[in-house]
């Protein structure tokens, strides 16, 4: 049973527009959430995180929103750039420092 779900395997966006990647989780014990980006032949790279005491965290073009009641988080990328094309993984943990549970990933394609 998947505890972290990324229901959209792929997303295509035009350069300059907003990319919204979604993630749902089922375990109410999760209180720390992260997004990673992965290019082919590379390991995942940390993007941004959020703890359950917040509902929003921003870092440059990247913003993560957390809706605890809906057990849903999303990653917004504005504006999207062709270099953002990669696989994006949502991950969650029961508390910072424990094992991360990853979703299956969403492949983002940004066209110029």
């Amino acid at each position: 049973d998947q505890q972290v779900k990324q229901n959209s395997p792929s997303l295509s966006v035009q350069e300059g527009r907003i990319s919204i990647l979604n993630c749902d989780y089922t375990n109410s014990m999760f209180d720390y959430f992260l997004w990673y980006k992965k290019y082919p032949a590379e390991g995942p790279t940390f993007l941004i995180s959020i703890s359950s005491i917040k509902d929003k965290n921003e870092d440059g073009r990247f913003t993560v929103f957390l809706n605890k009641s809906a057990k849903h988080l999303s990653l917004h990328i504005v504006p999207s750039q062709p270099g953002d094309s990669a696989v994006y993984f949502c991950a969650a943990a029961a508390y910072s420092g424990t094992a991360l549970i990853f979703g299956k990933g969403t492949t983002l394609s940004v066209s110029s």
Binding site: L34, S49, G97, T98, L100, F102
Partner: protein, 112 residues
């Protein structure tokens, strides 16, 4: 500064053989985690070590074992290889096992 380094990057084994994968964490990081990523899935947690002690173990059979050395480097061993063990094995380090993980590029294992 060097990131997380893993070796070998690629290897091919046959069923029943044994494999050892190696990982050197970022300097100053005392925690190492191992993840398995099969095609089309997100990384799945195998082990976490902190200060040479096992801190967590995922749902993997006893054929999988690991250890962490005094210099904080780590090895992952898999015995009696099965075809299903074919995957990308990712090592990640963190300062104390808390917060974001920094991943290496992975070791691609193919079992024939």
């Amino acid at each position: 500064d060097a990131g997380v380094t893993q070796s070998p990057t690629h290897l091919i084994k046959t069923r029943g053989q044994q494999v050892t994968l190696r990982c050197s964490p970022i300097s100053g990081h005392k925690s190492v985690s191992w993840y398995q990523q099969v095609l089309g899935q997100g990384p799945q947690f195998i082990f976490q070590y902190y200060e040479k002690e096992e801190r967590g173990r995922g749902n993997f059979p006893d054929r999988f074992s690991a250890r962490q050395f005094p210099n904080y480097s780590s090895e992952l061993n898999v015995n009696a290889l099965l075809l299903g063990d074919s995957a990308l094995y990712l090592c990640a380090s963190s300062i104390q096992g808390a917060g974001e993980l920094f991943f290496g590029e992975g070791s691609r294992l193919t079992v024939l």
